[in-house]
């Protein structure tokens, strides 16, 4: 080996000369470019640093999330509850007793091998849509005893009476607002319809005014404004327009400065006391109160998603608004939109550490609170990977939210 070492020395001398020559050949201009490039890289790297975020302390605050296997790598699309259970909709409905731990598939009328495109509840009764393998509606079932007994509502024939006998159609969603069940369906021609369940006539009726039989774009969501100063009404958004009215006479909203935007409406929420919020794809939230629309910018050029007005703590209400699919997660802002919180920093709903390890980077399908419990909040997510969960619960207790915990 020592003999070999001499070879190495010799080679080194040759190499050193070669290196020195090549260094002399580097023009000064080229060196300046290299320094400039290095400076740019350093600036870019430093600018990505966040002095407000502690990596190791954040990790130390993380909570091991042990949720139900059912919610791993899936999407939760809707939730409901009655006196005894929570219900969540994936491709089937799963349920968990409010005082229990385990989630399980809910048999519908004795059947566990089904596909459900919709779930809704009014706090006492749950409604579940069942469809065939082509997503065509079979029927909507209701249960008022925690899923023990089911009643078929004969929805298919009622709806076919409107859209045409023999026409198959798909359910997009169910929603209960103000104790009324609404159903959005679309047919093979992509005409979209909204029906409500009329308890008096025990049938499904067109929710729109008689001049609107269907829409050419999907409906996003419907809420009840709960107004007491004026007759209460429902507010509905399609992907482009706002509608309002009561059952059977919902019509396009023509009020000044309303949030209509072609394919730009993403979410709608109500405070239950006359105030309506609508989120849009241009980063704005429109705010309706006392007969007037106003708006504020949450984040420019950022698509927003579903939103909710969180009324706890009552002294510091926040709007939670999902971010578009390119970034995902959600933001918080105070109820007037003057301060916006991002990336978990300053959130009231959860700590930054828990936000990072639970909701951030996942698409938020919606936020949901039981009608009778404003101290419980669920985040319904599209979990992108097999190992992550799609449903988290947050509980308000002793003046603070617990932070997201996997269900």
């Amino acid at each position: 080996m020592l003999n070999k070492k001499r070879d190495r020395e010799f080679k080194f001398i040759i190499d050193r000369k070669a290196r020195e020559n090549s260094r002399k050949d580097i023009p000064v201009q080229s060196k300046k470019r290299q320094y400039l490039l290095a400076a740019i890289l350093i600036i870019l790297t430093l600018s990505s640093c966040d002095n407000t975020f502690s990596i190791f302390q954040s990790i130390g605050q993380e909570v091991k999330q042990l949720g139900a296997e059912l919610f791993k790598g899936t999407t939760v699309r809707a939730m409901g509850s009655d006196a005894t259970n929570y219900y969540a909709l994936m491709s089937k409905v799963v349920y968990k007793p409010k005082s229990g731990v385990n989630w399980d598939v809910l048999p519908i009328d004795g059947d566990t091998d089904y596909f459900s495109p919709g779930l809704a509840s009014d706090g006492n009764t749950i409604y579940v849509a069942k469809a065939d393998l082509n997503a065509n509606l079979k029927d909507i079932y209701s249960s008022s005893d925690g899923g023990k007994n089911w009643t078929g509502m004969d929805a298919k024939s009622d709806i076919q009476n409107v859209i045409g006998a023999g026409n198959n159609f798909c359910v997009d969603w169910l929603k209960c607002e103000n104790n009324t069940l609404f159903v959005e369906v679309h047919d093979s021609e992509l005409a979209y319809y909204l029906f409500y369940y009329d308890k008096l006539s025990d049938s499904f009726e067109n929710a729109f005014t008689s001049t609107i039989s269907s829409l050419s774009e999907p409906l996003v969501d419907i809420v009840w404004d709960g107004s007491t100063s004026a007759p209460g009404k429902y507010w509905l958004i399609s992907s482009s327009k706002v509608y309002s009215g009561v059952e059977g006479s919902i019509d396009e909203d023509s009020s000044l400065n309303n949030p209509a935007l072609s394919k730009g409406l993403k979410g709608i929420a109500s405070d239950g006391a006359g105030r309506i919020l609508v989120s849009r794809s241009d980063g704005k939230i429109y705010d309706y109160a006392s007969g007037n629309w106003s708006n504020f910018l949450v984040k420019s050029s950022s698509e927003l998603g579903p939103l909710i007005l969180l009324d706890q703590p009552s002294t510091s209400k926040r709007i939670l608004v999902a971010m578009g699919t390119s970034t995902s997660g959600y933001m918080e802002c105070d109820e007037n939109g003057s301060i916006v919180y991002e990336n978990g920093v300053g959130f009231i709903s959860t700590s930054q550490s828990i936000y990072n390890s639970t909701v951030r980077a996942k698409q938020v399908e919606g936020f949901w609170q039981p009608v009778d419990d404003s101290n419980t909040l669920f985040a319904l997510l599209a979990a992108g990977s097999e190992g992550s969960y799609a449903l988290y619960r947050n509980t308000y207790s002793e003046g603070a939210w617990s932070g997201w915990i996997a269900e």
């Binding site: 080996m1 190495r8 080194f12 640093c49 002095n51 302390q57 639970t358």
Partner: protein, 198 residues
């Protein structure tokens, strides 16, 4: 915690055994290298989070990090028969209890004291540099210091293979109003690798 302690004890024992096996060497500081010798090494191995302390010196418990992996590339230039300087770049991953992944990529300058007798070579080294960290899309740059040692064995005139232990000391410095977020993390890198001498 017990598993971590056992693992550290095993590694230190292995290092000590390797050193004691060379008791018969008459001149352990006999140079196997000369000034101007250079080497490039590539290491890969495991990465063990040890403990984290906060700004007040209180341990952040638990550290909530699991064992991960690390790799590094290092260049060395011998300034004498025993002392070398050089530079290194490394990368490491550890997963967190919440399902995140902490990525660290330090680059630094190294100094090492190297001794031994062919075919074995031993070293103790220190490294100072900067460390780019990334967690959940949040980035930070911190200083870093590494201290360690290793054993390697020449398999021919140009190549040696060996084992290294490196203690990573990672101070996460926050300034101004956020200085309370400062914390100090400690990791142990254990790796095997190959060195090319030229």
């Amino acid at each position: 915690m017990l598993k971590k302690q056992m693992l550290v004890t095993l590694m230190i024992s292995a290092l000590a055994l390797g050193l004691s096996a060379q008791e018969k060497i008459e001149d352990p500081f006999e140079a196997t290298r000369v000034k101007g010798d250079q080497s490039i090494s590539i290491q890969i191995g495991g990465f063990l989070p040890l403990f984290v302390i906060d700004n007040a010196g209180t341990p952040i418990s638990p550290s909530n990090m699991s064992i991960g992996s690390a790799f590094s590339v290092q260049y060395r230039y011998m300034l004498g028969k025993n002392f070398s300087i050089g530079g290194s770049g490394a990368g490491s991953f550890v997963t967190t209890v919440g399902g995140g992944t902490l990525f660290m990529a330090p680059i630094g300058i190294t100094g090492a004291w190297i001794w031994g007798r062919e075919p074995m070579e031993y070293e103790v080294s220190a490294e100072l540099g900067m460390n780019i960290m990334r967690l959940y899309g949040n980035g930070l740059i911190s200083p870093i210091a590494k201290f360690g040692g290793g054993i390697s064995r020449f398999v021919d005139s140009s190549w040696s293979i060996g084992f290294k232990l490196n203690w990573w000391f990672v101070p996460e410095i926050h300034l101004g109003a956020f200085s309370n977020l400062t914390s100090y993390a400690n990791f142990l890198e254990f790796s095997i690798g190959a060195n090319y001498h030229f």
